[in-house]
């Protein structure tokens, strides 16, 4: 009787694990977030970091500092951002532009020297991000400074900043040259 109860218990656990595996959202796809909202020019604070988008420009050409300028028939959104890292070091590897219809654009890696990278606590990282985005998707776009990964409780702290882009978005004729990323003590 005791043995039967044990086998049944084990089977119950297996069924429960299977149900959880099938029903639970994939954490790699559906990371749950605690959002902190911000706007251009203002600091937005989450428990681990504080971020501020300093300047936003939309152009068709940017110079990566080597070879020919990067040009597009779409739009290049050039965003300057400062991130104060508070408690633990961060890669700042998940900073992206999110459009109103839910599309996510990573910063162009051709401008990696200007982009965010590993930053230790107590330091502020100044970076410039260049996103290539269809012009029609810029209205209401936000910059998201996401957590590097999920936290223990399954929630991740993330900052989103409304970039202030509204239709019709003006595209500047100039070629922007993003400066290299720098780090200073906070």
């Amino acid at each position: 009787m005791t043995r039967l109860r044990g086998v049944l218990g084990l089977l119950g656990c297996l069924v429960l694990a299977l149900v959880v595996a099938v029903v639970a959202p994939d954490p790699a796809q559906d990371l749950r977030r605690r959002w902190t909202d911000g706007e251009v020019g203002a600091w937005a604070a989450s428990p681990d970091r504080v971020a501020r988008v300093g300047a936003v420009s939309v152009v068709r050409s940017a110079d990566p500092g080597y070879g020919q300028p990067f040009t597009t028939g779409q739009a290049l959104v050039v965003t300057e951002i400062d991130v104060q890292v508070l408690h633990r070091r961060t890669q700042l590897s998940r900073v992206y532009l999110s459009t109103r219809d839910g599309q996510q654009y990573d910063p162009r890696s051709e401008f990696v020297a200007a982009g965010p990278s590993l930053t230790q606590p107590g330091f502020t990282r100044h970076s410039t991000l260049v996103f290539e985005v269809p012009l029609r998707r810029l209205d209401g776009a936000e910059l998201v400074v996401d957590a590097d990964g999920a936290s223990v409780d399954g929630y991740a702290d993330a900052i989103r900043v409304d970039l202030g882009l509204r239709d019709p978005v003006r595209v500047g004729p100039e070629t922007v040259t993003p400066a290299e990323s720098t780090v200073t003590t906070t």
Binding site: A21, D26, A28, Q29, G67, Q68, F70, T71, T72, Q74, Y96, G102, Q103, Q104, Y105, D106, R108, S109, E110, F131, E132, V133, P134, R137
Partner: protein, 191 residues
């Protein structure tokens, strides 16, 4: 009694005749239209499940983009649009292969190279060039004997199929060929 036995004997034959008549009426004995791999034009956007791919050119080279010697290589120029919802780092493997009619096979390994100003990922709904390279003949090195180049090659496009598993929800695998593009081969070898 005799009439019933006779009817039973002819019943199967009658059933077959009726069946054949039905098949004929439904067009089952008509000449089938040709079914085979589709053929696409040069530069024609081909819509796959997650990508839109247009084959633009193929050249045969034996130097790298930095002009150092390389094995004979087929360099395929594409125009590609990613239709997913977030930036994708690399072009899916298995979408493009090359067949050299009458010649030795090209390598099955396809390397993705820098294309124009692009060295990074594919942004949603942003058309951009892409460049793939395949060693031809497969296994050749810088000292391989010269092989005559054909006038044209076939760039074969394949689609993907979902291959979700318990570990990854968004997993895809290469599917079967969808069709091909006949592309003139520009022989730019220096040796």
């Amino acid at each position: 009694m005799r009439a019933r036995r006779l009817a039973l004997r002819w019943a199967p034959i009658l059933a077959v005749v009726v069946l054949l008549a039905l098949v004929a009426a439904a067009g089952g004995f008509g000449r089938a239209s040709g079914v085979g791999p589709r053929r696409f034009e040069i530069g024609e956007p081909v819509e796959l499940r997650r990508w839109v791919v247009a084959v633009e050119s193929v050249e045969l080279v034996d130097t790298t983009s930095y002009d150092s010697p390389s094995p004979p290589t087929l360099r395929v120029g594409l125009q590609v649009t990613w239709t997913g919802t977030a930036t994708e780092d690399l072009l899916s493997t298995g979408l493009v292969s090359v067949v050299v009619p009458g010649g030795p096979a090209a390598s099955a390994e396809v390397a993705e190279m820098r294309a124009g100003q692009y060295s990074g990922g594919y942004d949603p709904d942003v058309a951009r060039p892409a460049q793939l390279e395949l060693v031809w003949p497969a296994g050749a090195d810088e000292n391989a004997p010269h092989v005559p180049a054909p006038a044209s090659v076939q760039v074969v496009l394949s689609d993907e199929r979902p291959a979700q598993n318990f570990l990854f929800a968004d997993q895809w695998a290469a599917g079967s060929p969808l069709g091909h593009v006949e592309v003139p081969l520009a022989d730019r070898r220096t040796r």
